[in-house]
Structure formats: C-alpha cells, structure tokens
C-alpha cells in the first residue's frame, strides 16, 4: 500500500524540525546546566581571590589573568601575520603555484588537532628554544594555532570588497599598498575583526595546547616567562582530580560566560556590518 507523498512530507517536516529543536535543546541544556550550578559560586571574592589549598577554596584570579594574557599574546602575534598574509595572497599575487602552496599550508594547519600543537609547542618552544613552561611558550603556540583561522576570515573579508573599488583607486594613480591601506582594509575590517574575536573565543577555551606549553602554575605570573594556568586548564584539573566540584562549576560558568560574550559580540558586530552594507 502506497502512502501518499503528502503524508510522508508531514512526517519529514516533523522529524527534521525535531532534529533542529533537539539540537537547540542540547545547546540550551549544556549552557543552562553549567550556569545553574556555577553561577551561585561566582562572587566578587571568587573572581578576585587567589586559590587556596590547590583550588579547594579561594578564588580563581590568577587563572583569569592567565586566560587574558595567553590569548592576548597569541592575538598580538597572529593577527598582523594573518592579515598581511591574506593581503599578500589577494592583492599582490595572481593564482600561481606559490599561492597554492601557501593555501595548502594554511588548510593543513587548520586541521591539526590541538594536542599536536601542544606537542609541538612543548618540543619547540619549551624545550628547544628553552623558553620553559611559560606565557611566552603558550602564547606562541596558540598564535600558530589560530593563524589559519585569521588568514581565512581575513581573506574572505578582503574578497568581499567590490572589485570596482580597487579599479577606481588604481585609476587615480594609487599603488597597491595605498589601495590596500585606504580602501581595502578599512572596508574589510569588520569581517577581519569578527575572525579575530572568534579566534579569541577559541583560545580561551583551549586546554590541550596550553597545558603542555604554559604549564599549570597557580601563582600570579610576574613575567612573560612565568608559567600560568588558564580557567580552562584550572577547570579541567579541578574536575578530573576531583578537587572541588563546586569550584569547578564556578570556573566553568565564568569560562562559558566569557566565551559566549565574545562569540555573541562577534556575531552582533558582523550582522551590524552586513546591515550597514545593504
């Protein structure tokens, strides 16, 4: 007996819609669960106090500092590198074997798991270059990790600048660099900033690459060569070693709030940019 296509259609809508709903619910559940258990733990003392007794009590201030410093260093290094790479790729070259090689390198880099970056950072920065477990090692490792993302999003942003703008600029006697500086970069900026913010979000949540390069010291770092612990690492250690479930939730909640804030800001900025354009 053949079922009428319209009935199958109804079933399909329900199932596909159900899938979408289910996925949304997962998202809401994860965020809700962490916030529900973690928000009560967060207080001014929690955020500004130092951890005591290996984190069983006290606050998480040094980890907040670590969470700020590591991505900051990574962004400072990777952003100019990434933007100028994409500028070079789109404005200074035509499609040649060279650009294909560079793009291949970027694609590969983007797919490498963070544990490998952790291994690399350890053997190269910590050991070979002798930087030890430090903010410097961690920041450099994270920089290499976010580089492909910044290159990709910058390239897309640069590509979205209309070709006619470039033509106008050149026809008025501009050099490539003048065109980049005065027309292309200002117009590609929102897209580039979004990519940077998304990379910040990713660095903040990163654990595997950080543990092996920045270490896990609970002390407030005094120099760039000091080891430090980020919130993600702290959370991982608290949870896995069973040190304090309560503080684990609190750290996780702080972490999630930070990450969500950054990602939502990036999306909001991007949508405002799109709205302004049209």
């Amino acid at each position: 007996m053949r079922i009428h296509p319209r009935h199958i259609q109804k079933v399909a809508v329900v199932m596909l819609g159900g899938a979408a709903l289910f996925t949304l619910l997962i998202l809401i559940f994860i965020i809700g669960f962490i916030l529900e258990k973690g928000l009560p733990v967060i207080s001014l003392r929690f955020l500004t106090g130092k951890p005591e007794d290996l984190g069983r009590s006290g606050g998480i201030f040094p980890t907040i500092i670590g969470t700020i410093l590591l991505p900051l260093l990574a962004i400072i290094i990777a952003t100019p590198l990434g933007i100028f790479t994409s500028v070079y790729l789109s404005e200074y070259t035509k499609e040649t074997k060279l650009t294909k090689v560079i793009r291949f390198g970027t694609d590969c880099l983007a797919g490498i798991p963070s544990i490998i970056f952790g291994l690399f950072g350890y053997i190269f920065f910590v050991v070979t270059l002798g930087l030890g477990w430090s903010i410097l090692s961690g920041g450099l490792t994270l920089a290499v990790m976010i580089l492909p993302t910044i290159i990709r999003t910058s390239e897309e942003a640069i590509r979205s600048v209309p070709k006619s703008y470039r033509e106008v600029s050149f026809s008025l006697g501009a050099t490539s660099w003048q065109t980049v500086k005065r027309v292309i970069l200002p117009n590609a900026l929102p897209g580039i900033v979004t990519g940077v913010m998304l990379s910040i979000g990713r660095s903040i949540g990163e654990t595997a690459a950080v543990i092996f390069t920045a270490g896990s010291s609970l002390r407030l770092p005094e120099s760039i060569l000091d080891s430090t612990r980020t919130m993600a690492v702290h959370f991982y250690i608290l949870a896995r070693e069973g040190i304090s479930q309560e503080n684990a939730y609190g750290t996780a909640a702080t972490l999630i709030i930070a990450v969500l804030f950054i990602n939502l800001s990036a999306y909001w900025m991007m949508s405002r940019f799109i709205a302004k354009r049209s």
Binding site: E167, S169, F170, S171, L172, G173
Partner: protein, 251 residues
C-alpha cells in the same frame, strides 16, 4: 594641434586570445574622440590600454606601440602610477567610494601627497563645478557619496577624475545607466572640458557620439574599421560596415 596619442600597429593579446588587431591612428590633444562599435569589438579593451588598467587582471601581451606625448607607455620601466595620474578614467557604472563626497574627490590628490586643506578645498570646488554638480552638493560635502542619485554619482566620479588635474579623461560608456537629463549634463560638461583636456569617450549610443565627438573611430571585432571627422562618419562613411552599423543594420 599636436598629437596626444600615437597608436602604431597595436595588437593586444590576453593569453591566447587576440583582442585588438593592428590598430593605427592618432589622437589629437584637446579634442573629444568618440569610439563606437558593437559589444565585443574591443572598444573597452582599447580604452583601458591607454591607462594600462588592463594590467590589473592578467598582464596582456602587447605588440606595436602606444605613444603618449611621444613616449611608449608600454616600455619596460615606464612609470604606470604616474601614467594613471595623467590619464583619468570614468567607468560605466558609477562607483562612489564608501566615503563622503568631499573625501571621494580628494582621494586622488591625497594619494599624490597634497595635504594642504586650502588647496584641497579649492580642488573640490573646482572639480565639482566642472562636473556640473557643485550647486547640488555644495552644502552637503560631508555626506556619503553613496546617497546621491545615479546621475549625480557619475558626475561625482567625473569630478573625482578631474581633481587629479589630468591631461586626458577616458570615459567608458559613462551614461549607460543614466536618465536623459543626467546624460545631457555630462555631455555638456565634456564639451566645455575639452578646452583643457583630451577626452576619449567610448559609447554604445551612436547618437551620443554624433552629438558630442569631434572625431569618431569605429571598432569592429578588435579592429579599427574607420576613423575620421564625426560629420563624415555619420553622413558619408567610406566603409560598408560603418554604414551598416550606423544605420542599425546590426548592433
């Protein structure tokens, strides 16, 4: 009357494709030269060869020479940037840069290093006036150029090119999307401007060439079919193809 451009045996290749073959003629200073012909005849390719805008996509292979003021502009080492400062261009679609009207006009001069505010203000007024748009925008120079109507935007683009104080102005079907009033404003501007500039106008609209150009060149399939005084081309052309095109037998 001296020659501004001498085009000698010019052939143009993009990769394997031959876009222009064996073009030979001279363009005189302070005239309006009209270039007519059907789509794909090479008019735009030729126009863009004069300020080397074709270089932007793929480097073309050039046979023959284009001389401006006696110098081969495709010679190795020729300063392309300064060429484009002397040869300005207005494109088919109006392209205001996403900045204020003022900033649009001073974009070019600023590139050349002019930063004195008085000089820039002077240039803005002079260029916008020559483009027949000063009166309409003089009270809102700081507003965005993208808020103007199509015809106004195109006049802004003309002003932008004029602000560079070039020798030559190239126009590539500048009125193609515009209403008749804007079109006639631009045509009037060009007629006045030829006193100080050499103007080369590519147009799909033969009647526009008849109205405005001193001399006209007819391009067909990459070659120059006929070239001469506009009146002659339009009333008693030598070549059959010219006649067929002008009378609308093909297009």
């Amino acid at each position: 009357m001296n020659d501004k451009f001498n085009i000698k045996n010019l052939s143009f290749y993009f990769g394997k494709k031959k876009c222009l073959s064996n073009i030979n003629f001279d363009i005189v200073a302070n005239e309006i030269l009209g270039i007519i012909g059907p789509s794909g005849s090479g008019k735009t390719t030729f126009l863009r060869a004069l300020n080397r805008m074709n270089d932007l996509d793929i480097m073309p292979r050039v046979e023959g020479r284009i001389l401006m003021d006696g110098n081969d502009i495709y010679a190795t080492g020729y300063d392309v940037v300064s060429l484009r400062k002397k040869v300005g261009m207005v494109f088919a679609m109006p392209v205001p840069l996403p900045m204020s009207i003022y900033e649009n006009v001073v974009y070019g001069p600023r590139l050349s290093g002019i930063s004195d505010k008085n000089r820039l203000d002077e240039l803005v007024e002079k260029s916008l006036t020559s483009a027949y748009i000063w009166e309409e925008v003089k009270d809102r120079l700081k507003t965005s150029g993208m808020r103007l109507s199509g015809g106004q935007q195109q006049r802004l683009c003309l002003a932008r090119a004029l602000a560079m104080e070039p020798d030559v102005i190239l126009l590539d079907e500048p009125c193609s999307g515009l209403d008749p009033i804007s079109t006639s404003k631009i045509e009037d501007a060009l007629t006045i401007l030829k006193k100080d500039y050499t103007i080369i106008l590519v147009t799909n609209n033969t009647k526009q060439a008849a109205r405005v150009a001193d001399r006209t060149a007819f391009f067909l399939m990459g070659g120059l079919v006929e070239f001469g005084d506009t009146k002659k081309i339009f009333t008693a052309p030598d070549q059959k193809e010219t006649n067929d095109y002008i009378t609308g037998r093909f297009g």
